[in-house]
Amino acid sequence: MISGRIILNREIAKDHFLISLKLSNHFGSAESPFQGTSPGQFVMLRVKGKEFPLLGRPMSIYSIYPGDNGFIIELLYMVVGKGTYIISRLKPDEEVYILGPLGRGFDIFPDRGCVVLVAGGVGIAPLSFLGEHCRKGAVNRSLKIICYVGARRSDLLVGLDRMGEMCSDIRISTDDGSRGYHGFVTELFQRDIISFSSSDSVVYSCGPSPMMKRLAEVLKDHPVPCQVSVEERMACGVGACLGCTINTKSGYKRVCKDGPVFDIKAIDWE
Protein backbone atom coordinates (compact mmCIF):
# COMPACT_ATOMS: atom_id res chain seq x y z
CA MET A 1 0.00 0.00 0.00
CA ILE A 2 1.38 3.35 -0.96
CA SER A 3 0.44 6.98 -0.60
CA GLY A 4 -1.14 8.94 -3.40
CA ARG A 5 -1.19 12.73 -3.35
CA ILE A 6 -4.23 14.20 -5.06
CA ILE A 7 -3.38 16.37 -8.04
CA LEU A 8 -6.99 16.96 -8.98
CA ASN A 9 -10.38 15.54 -8.02
CA ARG A 10 -12.91 17.14 -10.32
CA GLU A 11 -16.60 16.58 -11.05
CA ILE A 12 -16.69 16.09 -14.83
CA ALA A 13 -20.41 15.30 -14.99
CA LYS A 14 -23.08 15.14 -12.32
CA ASP A 15 -21.76 12.70 -9.64
CA HIS A 16 -18.97 11.57 -12.01
CA PHE A 17 -15.43 12.37 -10.90
CA LEU A 18 -11.95 12.24 -12.34
CA ILE A 19 -9.25 11.86 -9.71
CA SER A 20 -5.58 12.15 -10.56
CA LEU A 21 -2.95 11.02 -8.08
CA LYS A 22 0.79 11.19 -7.78
CA LEU A 23 1.95 7.87 -6.35
CA SER A 24 4.89 7.82 -3.98
CA ASN A 25 7.69 5.40 -4.63
CA HIS A 26 7.05 1.98 -3.15
CA PHE A 27 8.41 1.89 0.38
CA GLY A 28 11.67 -0.02 0.60
CA SER A 29 11.66 -1.11 -3.00
CA ALA A 30 13.38 0.36 -6.00
CA GLU A 31 10.69 -0.73 -8.38
CA SER A 32 7.15 0.58 -8.24
CA PRO A 33 4.46 -2.11 -8.03
CA PHE A 34 2.79 -0.16 -10.83
CA GLN A 35 5.53 -1.02 -13.30
CA GLY A 36 3.81 -3.06 -16.00
CA THR A 37 0.21 -2.37 -14.94
CA SER A 38 -2.17 -3.87 -17.45
CA PRO A 39 -5.51 -2.50 -18.68
CA GLY A 40 -8.44 -3.85 -16.65
CA GLN A 41 -6.50 -3.92 -13.39
CA PHE A 42 -7.79 -1.84 -10.50
CA VAL A 43 -6.72 -0.21 -7.26
CA MET A 44 -8.27 0.06 -3.82
CA LEU A 45 -8.44 3.72 -2.85
CA ARG A 46 -8.78 4.44 0.85
CA VAL A 47 -9.20 7.71 2.69
CA LYS A 48 -6.41 8.30 5.22
CA GLY A 49 -6.98 8.52 8.96
CA LYS A 50 -10.68 7.66 9.05
CA GLU A 51 -12.70 4.77 10.42
CA PHE A 52 -15.43 5.59 7.93
CA PRO A 53 -15.08 4.72 5.16
CA LEU A 54 -13.19 1.87 6.74
CA LEU A 55 -12.52 -0.12 3.58
CA GLY A 56 -10.92 0.94 0.34
CA ARG A 57 -13.08 1.44 -2.74
CA PRO A 58 -12.17 -0.54 -5.85
CA MET A 59 -11.65 1.60 -8.97
CA SER A 60 -10.46 0.60 -12.41
CA ILE A 61 -7.39 2.34 -13.73
CA TYR A 62 -8.21 4.99 -16.34
CA SER A 63 -4.62 5.80 -17.15
CA ILE A 64 -1.17 5.48 -15.66
CA TYR A 65 2.04 7.07 -16.78
CA PRO A 66 5.47 7.82 -15.30
CA GLY A 67 5.77 11.25 -13.69
CA ASP A 68 8.90 12.63 -12.08
CA ASN A 69 9.99 10.08 -9.48
CA GLY A 70 6.88 7.90 -9.48
CA PHE A 71 3.69 7.22 -11.36
CA ILE A 72 0.68 9.41 -12.03
CA ILE A 73 -2.57 7.49 -11.98
CA GLU A 74 -6.04 8.58 -13.09
CA LEU A 75 -9.33 7.02 -12.01
CA LEU A 76 -12.93 7.72 -12.95
CA TYR A 77 -15.60 7.07 -10.35
CA MET A 78 -19.22 7.74 -9.69
CA VAL A 79 -20.62 8.79 -6.32
CA VAL A 80 -22.93 5.93 -5.38
CA GLY A 81 -22.88 6.01 -1.57
CA LYS A 82 -21.36 7.64 1.50
CA GLY A 83 -17.88 6.23 0.86
CA THR A 84 -17.53 7.58 -2.66
CA TYR A 85 -19.18 10.85 -1.53
CA ILE A 86 -16.43 11.31 1.08
CA ILE A 87 -13.78 10.55 -1.55
CA SER A 88 -15.38 13.13 -3.86
CA ARG A 89 -14.90 15.86 -1.21
CA LEU A 90 -11.12 15.34 -1.00
CA LYS A 91 -9.00 18.27 -2.19
CA PRO A 92 -5.72 18.57 -4.10
CA ASP A 93 -2.62 17.91 -1.96
CA GLU A 94 -4.59 15.66 0.39
CA GLU A 95 -3.32 12.09 0.53
CA VAL A 96 -5.04 8.75 0.13
CA TYR A 97 -3.83 5.15 0.35
CA ILE A 98 -3.57 3.16 -2.84
CA LEU A 99 -3.30 -0.62 -2.95
CA GLY A 100 -2.57 -2.11 -6.33
CA PRO A 101 -2.45 -2.76 -9.14
CA LEU A 102 -4.86 -5.61 -8.42
CA GLY A 103 -6.68 -8.31 -10.33
CA ARG A 104 -6.42 -9.85 -13.74
CA GLY A 105 -6.73 -7.44 -16.65
CA PHE A 106 -7.96 -7.89 -20.21
CA ASP A 107 -6.40 -10.51 -22.47
CA ILE A 108 -4.88 -8.92 -25.56
CA PHE A 109 -5.34 -10.58 -28.95
CA PRO A 110 -2.60 -8.95 -31.05
CA ASP A 111 -3.52 -10.88 -34.19
CA ARG A 112 -7.03 -9.41 -34.35
CA GLY A 113 -7.55 -6.40 -36.59
CA CYS A 114 -10.66 -4.97 -34.98
CA VAL A 115 -11.10 -4.08 -31.30
CA VAL A 116 -14.67 -3.24 -30.28
CA LEU A 117 -15.25 -1.45 -26.98
CA VAL A 118 -18.71 -1.24 -25.41
CA ALA A 119 -18.77 1.24 -22.54
CA GLY A 120 -21.46 2.37 -20.12
CA GLY A 121 -20.92 5.44 -17.90
CA VAL A 122 -17.66 5.37 -15.92
CA GLY A 123 -17.13 1.89 -17.36
CA ILE A 124 -15.33 3.74 -20.12
CA ALA A 125 -12.27 4.06 -17.82
CA PRO A 126 -10.63 0.62 -18.20
CA LEU A 127 -11.66 0.48 -21.89
CA SER A 128 -9.95 3.79 -22.57
CA PHE A 129 -6.75 2.44 -20.94
CA LEU A 130 -7.14 -0.71 -23.02
CA GLY A 131 -7.71 1.21 -26.25
CA GLU A 132 -4.59 3.27 -25.61
CA HIS A 133 -2.61 0.11 -24.88
CA CYS A 134 -3.82 -1.60 -28.08
CA ARG A 135 -3.10 1.51 -30.15
CA LYS A 136 0.45 1.81 -28.80
CA GLY A 137 1.24 -1.87 -29.08
CA ALA A 138 -0.38 -2.36 -32.47
CA VAL A 139 1.85 -4.35 -34.79
CA ASN A 140 -0.68 -3.71 -37.45
CA ARG A 141 -0.98 -0.01 -38.31
CA SER A 142 -4.42 -0.63 -39.71
CA LEU A 143 -5.80 -1.78 -36.33
CA LYS A 144 -9.39 -0.59 -36.08
CA ILE A 145 -10.73 0.42 -32.67
CA ILE A 146 -14.46 1.04 -32.59
CA CYS A 147 -16.07 2.30 -29.43
CA TYR A 148 -19.71 2.28 -28.39
CA VAL A 149 -20.42 4.61 -25.50
CA GLY A 150 -23.71 4.83 -23.67
CA ALA A 151 -25.07 6.94 -20.83
CA ARG A 152 -28.47 7.86 -19.41
CA ARG A 153 -28.27 11.44 -20.74
CA SER A 154 -25.88 13.43 -22.92
CA ASP A 155 -24.48 15.37 -19.93
CA LEU A 156 -23.43 12.08 -18.32
CA LEU A 157 -21.21 10.99 -21.19
CA VAL A 158 -17.64 11.04 -19.87
CA GLY A 159 -14.23 10.27 -21.31
CA LEU A 160 -15.28 10.88 -24.93
CA ASP A 161 -12.38 13.18 -25.89
CA ARG A 162 -9.65 10.74 -24.96
CA MET A 163 -11.53 7.82 -26.43
CA GLY A 164 -12.08 9.77 -29.63
CA GLU A 165 -8.32 10.25 -30.09
CA MET A 166 -7.53 6.56 -30.24
CA CYS A 167 -10.65 5.20 -31.92
CA SER A 168 -11.30 4.83 -35.60
CA ASP A 169 -14.96 5.37 -34.88
CA ILE A 170 -16.99 6.33 -31.82
CA ARG A 171 -20.72 5.60 -31.66
CA ILE A 172 -22.83 7.19 -28.97
CA SER A 173 -26.17 6.35 -27.41
CA THR A 174 -28.24 7.88 -24.64
CA ASP A 175 -31.21 6.32 -22.87
CA ASP A 176 -33.24 9.54 -23.32
CA GLY A 177 -32.09 10.28 -26.87
CA SER A 178 -30.46 13.58 -25.90
CA ARG A 179 -27.39 12.62 -27.96
CA GLY A 180 -26.71 9.94 -30.54
CA TYR A 181 -28.78 6.80 -30.76
CA HIS A 182 -31.95 6.88 -28.63
CA GLY A 183 -31.79 3.71 -26.53
CA PHE A 184 -29.35 1.35 -24.93
CA VAL A 185 -25.75 1.12 -26.12
CA THR A 186 -26.20 -2.64 -26.44
CA GLU A 187 -28.96 -2.07 -29.01
CA LEU A 188 -26.69 0.22 -30.99
CA PHE A 189 -23.97 -2.43 -30.89
CA GLN A 190 -26.42 -5.16 -31.87
CA ARG A 191 -27.41 -3.22 -35.00
CA ASP A 192 -23.80 -3.41 -36.23
CA ILE A 193 -22.88 -6.84 -34.94
CA ILE A 194 -23.08 -8.46 -38.34
CA SER A 195 -20.22 -6.25 -39.57
CA PHE A 196 -17.77 -7.71 -37.01
CA SER A 197 -15.98 -10.81 -38.19
CA SER A 198 -15.79 -13.35 -35.39
CA SER A 199 -12.30 -14.40 -36.43
CA ASP A 200 -10.78 -10.93 -36.70
CA SER A 201 -12.65 -8.97 -33.99
CA VAL A 202 -12.63 -8.94 -30.21
CA VAL A 203 -15.17 -7.22 -27.96
CA TYR A 204 -14.42 -5.71 -24.55
CA SER A 205 -17.02 -4.20 -22.27
CA CYS A 206 -17.44 -2.45 -18.95
CA GLY A 207 -20.53 -0.80 -17.55
CA PRO A 208 -23.43 -1.31 -15.17
CA SER A 209 -24.44 -4.94 -14.61
CA PRO A 210 -27.82 -4.67 -16.42
CA MET A 211 -25.99 -3.35 -19.50
CA MET A 212 -23.49 -6.20 -19.53
CA LYS A 213 -26.27 -8.68 -18.96
CA ARG A 214 -28.00 -7.33 -22.10
CA LEU A 215 -24.70 -7.59 -23.97
CA ALA A 216 -24.40 -11.22 -22.90
CA GLU A 217 -27.86 -11.80 -24.36
CA VAL A 218 -26.86 -10.08 -27.63
CA LEU A 219 -23.70 -12.20 -27.91
CA LYS A 220 -25.30 -15.45 -26.77
CA ASP A 221 -25.14 -17.14 -30.14
CA HIS A 222 -22.31 -15.08 -31.58
CA PRO A 223 -18.82 -16.62 -31.69
CA VAL A 224 -16.88 -13.34 -31.35
CA PRO A 225 -14.76 -13.40 -28.15
CA CYS A 226 -15.91 -10.93 -25.51
CA GLN A 227 -14.36 -9.99 -22.19
CA VAL A 228 -16.09 -7.89 -19.55
CA SER A 229 -14.86 -6.11 -16.46
CA VAL A 230 -17.37 -6.51 -13.64
CA GLU A 231 -17.72 -4.89 -10.25
CA GLU A 232 -18.78 -6.03 -6.82
CA ARG A 233 -18.42 -4.65 -3.32
CA MET A 234 -14.99 -5.59 -1.95
CA ALA A 235 -13.20 -5.71 1.38
CA CYS A 236 -9.62 -6.94 0.93
CA GLY A 237 -9.05 -6.65 -2.83
CA VAL A 238 -6.42 -9.40 -2.72
CA GLY A 239 -8.45 -12.61 -2.80
CA ALA A 240 -8.50 -13.38 0.91
CA CYS A 241 -11.93 -12.42 2.26
CA LEU A 242 -14.09 -14.07 -0.44
CA GLY A 243 -16.51 -11.15 -0.13
CA CYS A 244 -16.65 -10.10 -3.79
CA THR A 245 -17.63 -13.37 -5.43
CA ILE A 246 -19.93 -13.56 -8.42
CA ASN A 247 -21.71 -16.56 -9.81
CA THR A 248 -20.10 -18.11 -12.88
CA LYS A 249 -20.83 -21.26 -14.83
CA SER A 250 -17.95 -22.90 -12.95
CA GLY A 251 -19.05 -21.78 -9.47
CA TYR A 252 -18.32 -18.69 -7.41
CA LYS A 253 -15.32 -16.63 -8.51
CA ARG A 254 -13.59 -13.74 -6.78
CA VAL A 255 -13.93 -10.50 -8.74
CA CYS A 256 -10.76 -9.11 -7.14
CA LYS A 257 -8.46 -12.01 -7.92
CA ASP A 258 -10.02 -14.24 -10.58
CA GLY A 259 -11.31 -11.05 -12.28
CA PRO A 260 -12.35 -8.29 -12.54
CA VAL A 261 -12.14 -9.33 -16.20
CA PHE A 262 -14.08 -12.44 -17.20
CA ASP A 263 -15.20 -14.04 -20.43
CA ILE A 264 -18.78 -12.81 -20.87
CA LYS A 265 -19.96 -16.36 -21.55
CA ALA A 266 -18.40 -17.67 -18.32
CA ILE A 267 -20.60 -15.54 -16.09
CA ASP A 268 -23.98 -16.69 -14.87
CA TRP A 269 -25.94 -13.51 -15.57
CA GLU A 270 -29.09 -14.77 -13.83
Partner: protein, 300 residues
Protein backbone atom coordinates in the same frame (compact mmCIF):
# COMPACT_ATOMS: atom_id res chain seq x y z
CA UNK B 1 7.73 -10.61 22.84
CA UNK B 2 7.25 -14.38 23.07
CA UNK B 3 4.19 -15.80 24.77
CA UNK B 4 3.06 -19.31 25.68
CA UNK B 5 -0.48 -20.17 24.77
CA UNK B 6 -0.96 -23.52 26.40
CA UNK B 7 1.53 -25.81 24.68
CA UNK B 8 2.10 -23.36 21.84
CA UNK B 9 5.12 -21.15 22.08
CA UNK B 10 4.66 -18.06 19.92
CA UNK B 11 7.38 -15.56 19.04
CA UNK B 12 4.88 -12.78 19.60
CA UNK B 13 1.18 -12.46 20.47
CA UNK B 14 -0.06 -11.25 17.05
CA UNK B 15 -2.01 -13.76 14.98
CA UNK B 16 -4.24 -13.45 11.97
CA UNK B 17 -7.95 -14.14 12.47
CA UNK B 18 -9.55 -16.93 10.49
CA UNK B 19 -11.43 -15.86 7.39
CA UNK B 20 -9.55 -12.61 7.04
CA UNK B 21 -6.23 -13.92 5.80
CA UNK B 22 -7.19 -16.54 3.22
CA UNK B 23 -4.71 -19.40 3.28
CA UNK B 24 -1.80 -17.02 3.92
CA UNK B 25 -0.54 -16.88 0.38
CA UNK B 26 -2.82 -13.96 -0.53
CA UNK B 27 -0.94 -11.69 1.90
CA UNK B 28 2.56 -13.07 1.35
CA UNK B 29 3.27 -10.37 -1.24
CA UNK B 30 2.55 -7.65 1.31
CA UNK B 31 4.14 -8.87 4.56
CA UNK B 32 6.78 -11.30 5.77
CA UNK B 33 4.67 -14.15 7.14
CA UNK B 34 7.65 -15.26 9.28
CA UNK B 35 7.05 -12.30 11.55
CA UNK B 36 3.58 -13.39 12.65
CA UNK B 37 3.03 -14.99 16.04
CA UNK B 38 0.75 -17.50 14.34
CA UNK B 39 -1.29 -17.73 11.19
CA UNK B 40 -4.87 -18.93 11.40
CA UNK B 41 -6.29 -19.94 8.06
CA UNK B 42 -9.81 -19.76 6.65
CA UNK B 43 -12.25 -22.22 8.25
CA UNK B 44 -11.97 -25.74 6.82
CA UNK B 45 -14.80 -28.24 6.61
CA UNK B 46 -14.49 -31.90 5.63
CA UNK B 47 -15.69 -31.41 2.06
CA UNK B 48 -15.46 -28.36 -0.16
CA UNK B 49 -18.09 -25.66 0.49
CA UNK B 50 -19.33 -23.18 -2.10
CA UNK B 51 -20.40 -20.56 0.43
CA UNK B 52 -23.34 -18.16 0.25
CA UNK B 53 -24.65 -16.46 -2.90
CA UNK B 54 -23.56 -12.83 -3.49
CA UNK B 55 -23.79 -10.08 -2.32
CA UNK B 56 -21.75 -11.21 0.63
CA UNK B 57 -20.44 -8.03 2.24
CA UNK B 58 -21.52 -4.51 3.13
CA UNK B 59 -19.67 -1.73 4.86
CA UNK B 60 -21.46 -0.24 7.88
CA UNK B 61 -20.41 2.61 10.17
CA UNK B 62 -16.97 1.71 11.55
CA UNK B 63 -17.36 -1.89 10.51
CA UNK B 64 -18.58 -4.35 7.94
CA UNK B 65 -21.09 -7.15 7.62
CA UNK B 66 -20.12 -10.39 5.93
CA UNK B 67 -21.97 -13.54 5.05
CA UNK B 68 -19.37 -15.59 3.21
CA UNK B 69 -20.87 -18.86 4.39
CA UNK B 70 -17.58 -20.62 5.11
CA UNK B 71 -16.58 -21.12 1.48
CA UNK B 72 -13.50 -23.31 1.58
CA UNK B 73 -11.59 -25.94 -0.38
CA UNK B 74 -12.20 -28.80 2.06
CA UNK B 75 -9.68 -30.52 4.30
CA UNK B 76 -8.13 -32.80 1.66
CA UNK B 77 -7.41 -30.00 -0.80
CA UNK B 78 -6.21 -27.77 2.03
CA UNK B 79 -3.58 -30.32 3.07
CA UNK B 80 -2.54 -31.12 -0.51
CA UNK B 81 -2.74 -27.70 -2.20
CA UNK B 82 -2.62 -24.93 0.40
CA UNK B 83 -0.48 -26.20 3.27
CA UNK B 84 2.75 -26.87 1.28
CA UNK B 85 3.07 -23.14 0.55
CA UNK B 86 2.91 -22.32 4.26
CA UNK B 87 5.56 -24.91 5.16
CA UNK B 88 8.15 -22.60 3.61
CA UNK B 89 7.64 -20.20 6.49
CA UNK B 90 8.71 -20.33 10.10
CA UNK B 91 5.26 -19.57 11.48
CA UNK B 92 2.90 -21.84 13.42
CA UNK B 93 -0.16 -22.61 11.32
CA UNK B 94 -3.40 -23.02 13.24
CA UNK B 95 -6.24 -24.48 11.22
CA UNK B 96 -9.73 -23.22 11.91
CA UNK B 97 -12.12 -26.17 11.60
CA UNK B 98 -15.83 -26.36 11.19
CA UNK B 99 -18.53 -29.00 10.76
CA UNK B 100 -22.24 -29.28 10.27
CA UNK B 101 -22.41 -32.13 12.74
CA UNK B 102 -20.35 -33.15 15.74
CA UNK B 103 -18.99 -36.05 13.74
CA UNK B 104 -17.85 -33.74 10.93
CA UNK B 105 -15.87 -31.69 13.46
CA UNK B 106 -14.27 -34.93 14.60
CA UNK B 107 -13.47 -36.07 11.05
CA UNK B 108 -11.83 -32.74 10.13
CA UNK B 109 -9.80 -32.79 13.34
CA UNK B 110 -8.69 -36.36 12.62
CA UNK B 111 -7.71 -35.49 9.07
CA UNK B 112 -5.46 -32.67 10.31
CA UNK B 113 -3.83 -34.54 13.16
CA UNK B 114 -0.33 -35.81 12.45
CA UNK B 115 -0.16 -33.61 9.36
CA UNK B 116 3.21 -31.90 9.06
CA UNK B 117 2.91 -28.14 9.19
CA UNK B 118 -0.20 -27.98 11.37
CA UNK B 119 0.54 -26.62 14.85
CA UNK B 120 -2.93 -26.39 16.28
CA UNK B 121 -6.66 -26.33 15.69
CA UNK B 122 -9.14 -23.57 16.26
CA UNK B 123 -12.63 -25.00 16.55
CA UNK B 124 -15.19 -22.65 15.05
CA UNK B 125 -18.43 -23.11 16.97
CA UNK B 126 -19.45 -19.58 16.21
CA UNK B 127 -20.05 -18.70 12.56
CA UNK B 128 -23.33 -16.75 12.30
CA UNK B 129 -23.72 -17.29 8.54
CA UNK B 130 -24.49 -20.94 8.04
CA UNK B 131 -27.79 -22.63 8.57
CA UNK B 132 -26.42 -25.81 10.12
CA UNK B 133 -23.62 -26.05 12.63
CA UNK B 134 -21.73 -22.89 13.48
CA UNK B 135 -23.65 -20.77 15.84
CA UNK B 136 -25.94 -23.51 17.08
CA UNK B 137 -22.98 -25.38 18.51
CA UNK B 138 -21.59 -22.30 20.18
CA UNK B 139 -24.89 -21.08 21.59
CA UNK B 140 -25.63 -24.13 23.71
CA UNK B 141 -23.27 -24.90 26.60
CA UNK B 142 -23.96 -28.64 26.40
CA UNK B 143 -23.27 -28.85 22.66
CA UNK B 144 -20.20 -26.61 22.96
CA UNK B 145 -18.89 -29.00 25.60
CA UNK B 146 -19.61 -32.03 23.41
CA UNK B 147 -17.90 -30.63 20.28
CA UNK B 148 -14.82 -29.68 22.31
CA UNK B 149 -14.61 -33.09 23.94
CA UNK B 150 -15.05 -34.94 20.62
CA UNK B 151 -12.31 -32.91 18.93
CA UNK B 152 -9.97 -33.35 21.89
CA UNK B 153 -10.55 -37.09 21.87
CA UNK B 154 -9.17 -37.53 18.36
CA UNK B 155 -6.19 -35.17 18.32
CA UNK B 156 -3.04 -34.39 20.25
CA UNK B 157 -2.84 -30.93 18.69
CA UNK B 158 -3.50 -27.92 20.91
CA UNK B 159 -7.19 -27.07 20.62
CA UNK B 160 -8.47 -23.50 20.72
CA UNK B 161 -12.25 -23.01 20.72
CA UNK B 162 -13.63 -19.84 19.14
CA UNK B 163 -16.74 -18.46 20.78
CA UNK B 164 -19.69 -16.49 19.49
CA UNK B 165 -20.84 -13.29 21.17
CA UNK B 166 -24.42 -14.01 20.05
CA UNK B 167 -25.39 -15.61 23.36
CA UNK B 168 -26.88 -14.51 26.64
CA UNK B 169 -23.84 -15.53 28.67
CA UNK B 170 -20.51 -16.03 26.95
CA UNK B 171 -18.96 -16.90 30.30
CA UNK B 172 -21.20 -19.93 30.60
CA UNK B 173 -20.09 -21.18 27.15
CA UNK B 174 -16.45 -20.50 28.00
CA UNK B 175 -16.73 -22.57 31.17
CA UNK B 176 -18.30 -25.42 29.20
CA UNK B 177 -15.54 -25.60 26.61
CA UNK B 178 -12.92 -25.42 29.35
CA UNK B 179 -14.64 -28.36 31.00
CA UNK B 180 -14.70 -30.11 27.60
CA UNK B 181 -10.91 -29.96 27.57
CA UNK B 182 -10.14 -26.90 25.42
CA UNK B 183 -6.52 -25.78 25.71
CA UNK B 184 -7.36 -22.20 24.79
CA UNK B 185 -10.41 -20.04 24.12
CA UNK B 186 -10.56 -17.37 21.44
CA UNK B 187 -13.25 -14.70 21.33
CA UNK B 188 -15.18 -13.05 19.81
CA UNK B 189 -16.47 -14.11 16.42
CA UNK B 190 -18.72 -11.60 14.63
CA UNK B 191 -21.99 -10.20 15.91
CA UNK B 192 -25.04 -11.06 13.89
CA UNK B 193 -26.42 -7.97 12.15
CA UNK B 194 -28.19 -6.68 9.05
CA UNK B 195 -28.43 -3.68 6.75
CA UNK B 196 -31.22 -2.64 4.38
CA UNK B 197 -31.24 -0.78 1.05
CA UNK B 198 -34.14 1.64 1.59
CA UNK B 199 -34.57 2.43 -2.11
CA UNK B 200 -35.12 -1.19 -3.13
CA UNK B 201 -36.30 -2.33 0.34
CA UNK B 202 -34.05 -5.35 0.19
CA UNK B 203 -31.30 -6.51 2.54
CA UNK B 204 -27.82 -5.57 1.29
CA UNK B 205 -26.73 -9.17 1.91
CA UNK B 206 -28.31 -12.03 -0.01
CA UNK B 207 -28.10 -14.07 3.20
CA UNK B 208 -30.19 -11.27 4.84
CA UNK B 209 -28.05 -11.28 7.98
CA UNK B 210 -24.29 -11.26 8.35
CA UNK B 211 -21.53 -11.00 10.91
CA UNK B 212 -20.47 -7.55 12.05
CA UNK B 213 -16.75 -6.95 12.49
CA UNK B 214 -14.37 -4.01 12.69
CA UNK B 215 -13.82 -1.17 15.15
CA UNK B 216 -17.56 -0.98 15.89
CA UNK B 217 -17.38 -4.21 17.92
CA UNK B 218 -14.17 -3.62 19.84
CA UNK B 219 -15.54 -2.30 23.16
CA UNK B 220 -17.95 -5.20 23.34
CA UNK B 221 -15.25 -7.74 22.48
CA UNK B 222 -12.94 -6.27 25.10
CA UNK B 223 -15.65 -6.50 27.75
CA UNK B 224 -16.33 -10.14 26.89
CA UNK B 225 -12.64 -11.07 26.97
CA UNK B 226 -12.36 -9.38 30.37
CA UNK B 227 -15.32 -11.36 31.71
CA UNK B 228 -14.05 -14.68 30.36
CA UNK B 229 -10.48 -14.14 31.57
CA UNK B 230 -11.85 -13.72 35.07
CA UNK B 231 -13.74 -16.99 34.97
CA UNK B 232 -11.53 -19.57 33.24
CA UNK B 233 -8.02 -20.72 33.97
CA UNK B 234 -6.95 -21.55 30.39
CA UNK B 235 -5.41 -18.88 28.11
CA UNK B 236 -7.79 -16.54 26.29
CA UNK B 237 -7.09 -15.01 22.88
CA UNK B 238 -8.68 -11.62 22.19
CA UNK B 239 -10.39 -10.91 18.87
CA UNK B 240 -12.71 -8.13 17.78
CA UNK B 241 -12.09 -4.88 15.96
CA UNK B 242 -8.37 -4.62 16.70
CA UNK B 243 -7.15 -2.01 14.22
CA UNK B 244 -3.91 -0.80 15.78
CA UNK B 245 -1.40 -1.41 18.54
CA UNK B 246 -3.42 0.56 21.10
CA UNK B 247 -6.40 -1.73 20.55
CA UNK B 248 -4.20 -4.82 20.83
CA UNK B 249 -2.55 -3.58 24.03
CA UNK B 250 -5.98 -3.00 25.61
CA UNK B 251 -6.77 -6.68 25.08
CA UNK B 252 -3.41 -7.75 26.52
CA UNK B 253 -3.90 -5.56 29.59
CA UNK B 254 -7.33 -7.06 30.35
CA UNK B 255 -5.71 -10.48 30.21
CA UNK B 256 -5.70 -11.84 26.65
CA UNK B 257 -2.57 -13.96 26.19
CA UNK B 258 -2.50 -13.08 22.50
CA UNK B 259 -4.65 -11.31 19.92
CA UNK B 260 -6.04 -12.02 16.48
CA UNK B 261 -6.20 -9.39 13.77
CA UNK B 262 -9.12 -9.67 11.37
CA UNK B 263 -10.88 -6.89 9.50
CA UNK B 264 -7.80 -4.66 9.87
CA UNK B 265 -6.06 -6.86 7.27
CA UNK B 266 -8.63 -5.73 4.69
CA UNK B 267 -8.06 -2.10 5.54
CA UNK B 268 -4.29 -2.38 5.55
CA UNK B 269 -2.51 -5.55 4.39
CA UNK B 270 0.38 -4.64 6.71
CA UNK B 271 -1.87 -4.26 9.76
CA UNK B 272 -0.42 -7.25 11.65
CA UNK B 273 3.13 -5.98 11.25
CA UNK B 274 2.20 -2.40 12.13
CA UNK B 275 0.47 -3.69 15.28
CA UNK B 276 3.43 -5.88 16.18
CA UNK B 277 5.84 -2.97 15.81
CA UNK B 278 3.49 -0.71 17.76
CA UNK B 279 3.42 -3.16 20.68
CA UNK B 280 7.23 -3.32 20.65
CA UNK B 281 7.43 0.48 20.75
CA UNK B 282 5.00 0.56 23.66
CA UNK B 283 7.04 -1.97 25.64
CA UNK B 284 10.25 0.00 25.06
CA UNK B 285 8.58 3.28 25.97
CA UNK B 286 7.26 1.81 29.22
CA UNK B 287 10.44 -0.07 30.11
CA UNK B 288 8.72 -3.45 29.94
CA UNK B 289 11.23 -6.17 29.05
CA UNK B 290 8.87 -9.12 28.87
CA UNK B 291 5.43 -8.82 27.32
CA UNK B 292 4.13 -11.29 29.89
CA UNK B 293 4.62 -8.52 32.47
CA UNK B 294 1.96 -6.55 30.61
CA UNK B 295 -0.65 -9.27 30.16
CA UNK B 296 -3.48 -9.17 32.70
CA UNK B 297 -2.28 -6.06 34.51
CA UNK B 298 -5.54 -4.11 34.44
CA UNK B 299 -5.90 -2.03 37.59
CA UNK B 300 -9.46 -1.95 38.88
Amino acid sequence: MSVNIGDLELKNPVMTASGTFGYGEEYSHYIDLNRLGALIVKGISFGKREGNPPHRIMETPCGMLNAIGLENVGVRSFVDDKLPFLEKFDVPVIVNIFGETVSEYRRVAEALSNVRGVSGLEVNISCPNVSKGGVEFGADPGVAYEVTREVKSVTDLPVMVKLTPNVTSIVEIAESVEEGGADTISLINTLKGMSVDIEERVPYLKNITGGLSGPAIKPLALRMVWEVVNRVSIPVIGIGGIMNATDAIEFLIVGAGAVQIGTANFVNPRATIDILEGIEDYLIKHGIHDINDLIGTLKV
